[in-house]
């Protein structure tokens, strides 16, 4: 029998390709390879949310891994599934990343059962980031509702670590009720930093709650906004960022100076599965971070 056609080994092609940048996005044969990582700590935040500190096991990969605030990773629990989770820790932190995960579906439920030391997989980072470098020398409004504080934490850390690059910094956070407040152990630390203004509100207080009660937009009443030199980063459910952004637009902030992060159910993170399409825009490639003008033009976004 004559061999007319010869097998083509794609892994060879993959080896000769040069890496494009810090992560392995260009490495053909590594597209579906996960970094094996260890859950080094689990911090209970509320009834529904836990913070996972996750360290990539391979030293070189861990060294090379870097991300920008607003990006996400695909977290794989082998045998159970893979989900997109935004990174919640400081981009400058090299040892591990932090992922704040709400128990909502199959993978998150199993993750909530996992013990410290469990090996999971991560792929990424993927997606666009908050263009924090453009915000240098300006005021920054960091506004989060509910679970939105998770993705907002990365830019908060960046701003704190580079405080001198920015003018006035306001962190505004609101949830439905006091028991749902995330990272409340960090508020005092943030508040004590000079020139960072932290405001927290809940929609419905309880007996022990002594703080503010009201909507997140109420907090804006207490902030002096200089529209020409202010950027805003808003994370939260669509109904929340729509209210906030409309309010900020009235204050005179340009729509392309407001950034939001959108939630969709990605299955690949690489612009292939179409599950995160908004209209025909891939949230995983063109997002999850969009400026508000773009969001308004995405017919399905809000």
């Amino acid at each position: 029998m004559t061999e007319l056609l010869h097998p083509y080994d794609i892994t060879q092609e993959a080896d000769i390709m040069q890496p494009l940048d810090f992560n392995r996005r260009s490495r053909l044969k590594h597209v579906d390879r996960t970094f094996k990582s260890e859950i080094i700590n689990i911090i209970r935040l509320t009834e529904m949310e836990k913070l996972f500190q996750v360290r990539i096991l391979d030293d070189t990969a861990r060294e090379r891994f870097s991300f920008r605030p607003g990006q996400f990773v695909m977290v794989e629990v082998p045998g159970y599934g893979e989900i997109p989770i935004s990174i919640s820790s400081s981009p400058s932190h090299k040892g591990f990343i932090e992922l704040c995960i709400r128990k909502a579906g199959l993978v998150t439920t199993i993750l909530h059962k996992a013990r410290r030391g469990a090996p999971i997989g991560i792929r990424g980072p993927f997606g666009t980031h908050f263009p924090i470098e453009k915000m240098r020398g300006c005021n920054i409004l960091l506004i989060a509702g509910g679970l939105g504080l998770a993705p907002l934490r990365a830019p908060i850390f960046h701003v704190i670590e580079n405080r001198s690059n920015f003018k006035d910094v306001h962190i505004l956070y609101g949830t439905r009720q006091p028991s749902m407040l995330l990272f409340n152990y960090q508020y005092e630390e943030w508040d004590r930093i000079a020139d960072i203004d932290l405001k927290v509100t809940v929609e419905h207080g309880d007996e022990s709650w002594t703080g503010q009660v009201g909507m997140i937009t109420d907090l804006l009443d207490e902030v002096d906004i200089a529209p020409k030199e202010t950027y805003a980063i808003i994370c939260g459910p669509p109904v929340m960022f729509k209210f906030v952004c409309n309010r900020l637009t009235k204050e005179g902030i340009q729509m392309n100076r407001m950034f939001v992060s959108l939630e969709r159910r990605m299955h690949c993170g690489m612009g292939k599965c179409c599950r995160c399409n908004i209209g025909s825009t891939y949230t995983c490639l063109s997002g999850p971070v969009f400026d508000y003008w773009t969001v308004l033009n995405l017919k399905e976004a809000i």
Binding site: G105, T109, I110, A114, R115
Partner: protein
């Protein structure tokens, strides 16, 4: 399998049969390549069809068959008291199944026809959920063992199981099956819940809807399609009523 630092739970399980053909129970012993592993993750404390052990200490009760007699109601209520999780296994347990077809008959008359001077007790066939609350329904005539294996894994890990929302057509296409309508037969595939891997159309048989309706079925368009292709009410009814999963549709 120990993973993520969690020891998997061994499920104390009991299998009970009511009115039906016991074909769904039989599936527990089918798919022979994995049946040994399947039985290892379970602690079978009661399974009359294959075991003489008759324990009452179980967490999960798998119920096969419909309810058609008074003693079955008593037995079912007793099982419900014991079981942490009560699972309706198969179309008979979920919908009443083919047993439901007798409900339109005059049961006294039928009884006399079959048993003459010794008529037997019988009630209209009912699904398990019509008697006691059901925690999980696994439809199919018979159930799909692959799906059951996955459900058992989810029970072991105590994580939610999601049935497919798509209709049978979707999996039919993924098997390269030629549409049954194209071959001139009626098929409930477009409105029936998938997840069975569409064995009937692949074998040249239109779907009779043993898994009940898909999520958000488009009945009005389905009837339009059937009408356009000349199917009469009798044919449609025969399909819709066959397994009892489409009660009130048609």
């Amino acid at each position: 399998m120990k993973y993520l630092g969690i020891e998997p739970e061994v499920l104390k399980i009991a299998v009970f049969d009511f009115t039906g053909c016991e074909g769904c129970e039989l599936q527990l012993a089918n798919k022979e390549e994995t049946v040994a592993d399947f039985l290892k993750v379970l602690d079978v404390v009661n399974f009359r069809e294959i075991s003489s052990v008759e324990g009452d200490d179980y967490d999960i009760a798998l119920i096969e068959g419909a309810v058609t007699r008074g003693d079955e109601i008593t037995r079912l209520i007793q099982i419900r008291k014991q079981a942490r999780l009560l699972v309706a296994l198969g179309s008979c347990a979920c919908f009443g199944g083919v047993n439901r077809l007798k409900n339109v008959l005059d049961l006294n008359k039928v009884n006399r026809e079959v048993y003459g001077k010794d008529p037997k007790e019988t009630l209209p066939a009912r699904a398990i959920k019509e008697i006691v609350p059901v925690d999980l329904e696994i439809p199919g005539c018979p159930i799909n063992k692959d799906e059951l294996e996955r459900i058992v894994q989810h029970l072991i890990w105590d994580i939610p199981f999601q049935f497919p929302v798509y209709p049978v057509c979707f999996e039919c296409k993924q098997r390269y099956t030629t549409c049954i309508f194209e071959l001139g037969q009626l098929c409930l595939g477009p409105i029936t819940r998938g997840g069975c891997n569409a064995p009937c159309p692949a074998g040249g048989l239109g779907c009779y809807g043993c898994r009940g309706p898909a999520a958000d079925p488009n009945y009005s368009e389905f009837f339009t399609i059937a009408r356009e292709r000349g199917y009469k009410k009798k044919e449609l009814d025969e399909h819709f009523n066959f397994f009892g999963g489409f009660e009130g549709v048609g």
